[in-house]
Chain length 342, copies 2
């Protein structure tokens, strides 16, 4: 903390005004004459004064801090979310306090969120228990679940249309005449995985197909690597694999090509989910379903601001669109257009 930080009283003394005048000068929309305002600003500048945000929060009851809870950044989708969300909130005068959770350590996070009197909380991680969300919501802290939702709860959420995404992938694979279609699941407790898988199954069913083999990768690189090995060690190999996110899909592609010497898409087609930047890298060129991060962030900030500033309490479940991005790992050998905005 600063040596002996300069306070509004110091500024007031130098500017020959009351301490309240100083406060008003730094409160947008308060009534101060241009003259006083200028004197205060001059004095503040010469002393290097900055209003103490902590003191301000104490009395105003608003900290302008938003808690962002994340479990892991291994999947590059999340760093992007963090970056964009931070920027968006900063633009609205809020600050982001970052919490990395670990399984079983979540009560501590709740406690800290409450201690710092966060104005709002964003839970942006698929592997979180619903505990934090419920607790905060009960106490009255606005909460938005990002890229997940909790069924039958009153907590607002922002997701993309994961069911649609799954269906689009199914349609692509059906159109490509694939027969032995495998699915590598993420975390089976996550809404993202369940929705993607449901949509996928439905889509296949419409074409008279079904998931031929299924493994679980738990949304981790290692998990996906093992899952892919199990899948490929069998005599009969899949001709297409839908992987529940891009991060795992990269692992799967590595196994297919490097460990089994098979070609993508000639021997096996691979489709991922998220459309992280790496999906567009030449080494992978991964067909995937885009999650529109920008729109999702925008919706999140929107809901959060409404709840924080207008005290709106209605829960909102925003579902953004999903879009198939066809690259060479699957499907680009047809002329069909694989996009849909349902």
């Amino acid at each position: 903390m600063a040596k002996t930080s300069v306070t509004s009283i110091d500024v007031a003394r130098l500017a020959n005004v009351s301490q309240s005048a100083v406060s008003r000068t730094f409160t947008p929309g308060a009534s101060v004459s241009d003259d006083t305002k200028q004197r205060v600003l001059d004095a503040a500048k010469s002393l290097g004064y900055r209003p103490n945000a902590l003191a301000r929060s104490l009395i105003s009851g608003r900290s302008r801090i938003v808690g962002l809870v994340v479990a892991y950044l291994e999947n590059h989708f999340y760093p992007i979310v963090i970056e964009q969300l931070s920027r968006a909130l900063q633009m609205h005068g809020y600050h982001v306090m970052l919490f990395m959770t670990q399984p079983g350590q979540q009560d501590q996070v709740i406690s800290e969120i409450l201690q710092y009197k966060m104005d709002g909380v964003v839970l942006a991680s698929v592997t979180l228990s619903s505990h934090i969300a419920e607790e905060c919501a009960n106490i009255g802290v606005p909460v938005v679940l990002f890229n997940r939702y909790i069924p039958d709860s009153h907590v607002s959420s922002v997701t993309s249309d994961n069911e649609l995404g799954g269906r689009l992938v199914a349609k692509l694979m059906a159109d490509q005449q694939h027969k032995r279609i495998a699915y590598i699941a993420g975390n089976e407790n996550s809404s993202t995985n369940n929705d993607r898988e449901n949509g996928f199954s439905q889509g296949l069913a419409q074409a008279g197909l079904k998931i031929w083999k299924r493994k679980v990768g738990m949304y981790s690189f290692e998990g996906a690597t093992s899952a892919a090995r199990e899948l490929l060690e069998a005599d009969e190999k899949p001709d297409a694999v839908f992987v529940a996110n891009d991060h795992m899909a990269f692992a799967v592609m590595d196994v297919i090509r490097s460990e089994f010497g098979l070609r993508i898409p000639e021997d096996i087609s691979v489709v991922g989910y998220d459309n992280v930047p790496e999906a567009d890298w030449a080494a992978y060129n991964l067909t995937t379903v885009e999650q529109p991060v920008e729109a999702m962030i925008e919706a999140t900030v929107d809901i959060l601001l409404k709840q924080m500033e207008h005290k709106e309490v209605n829960e909102v479940h925003k579902v953004t669109d999903a879009r198939l991005i066809v690259r060479s790992s699957a499907g680009n050998n047809t002329n069909k257009i694989h996009r849909s905005n349902r």
Copy 2:
């Protein structure tokens, strides 16, 4: 903010003690009898009381908030840093407030850091101006530069031995008998780039070699892609390329293989810097110099805590080791051991 948050007075009333007793109960090391303490804890629990961190900070003069300033998360080195730093600081009872800067927007960041009375600041981005660091340090806020330093300044820093790293790469390439050795620079204003390049040049000089061609990639994927194209469009092509970080190296490898149909390492060897997880992915298998993130984080937290808690003001310049990680993109066709701990 919580509905009507319960305060220490509410707890005191219920527990039949003074408000100070409540405060003492939640202050480690304060003198309270076991009896009172228990009564207070019971009351607190039944009311759902949590001490207000803001009020506490106001009087104690310590916010237990550390500002983490980052410019971009595109390079996967930084998400890892964020994750580990957050976890480490959380373990010591501190919280991380995240600031994403943009060029030209840095004064605002300073202002916000000062307003929230951060106990300390970590600047973990190569493209930051030195402005923030100097300003904070002047005002007395402990600052640590992560993965960079400012020459001739009094600001503490933690880096890995980038010169050594550069030399190790030079030695590897010289040992491999490469002749047309190219360097793709990062941001030329960054200490990381300069040190890596200097070490590299020195190392080559020792073997009677020098940088054959040089391009600038600005530490961005696009920049590196363009740089690689310029390099390869010429008639005479390099036989080895040292790229200033892994993130750019992936771009370079993509260009070499996908756009020019050349093989790595048979036609061109590629070496990166950082050893991010993707360097180990089969699609790249990138020879690189490891930056020991864990050790760097540990040093950062150490310096920060010392300065924040013991008011030590001595600047520290911690330089951790660097280590060559040989994979198939360069150098694994010899039996030599390319490791060194100078």
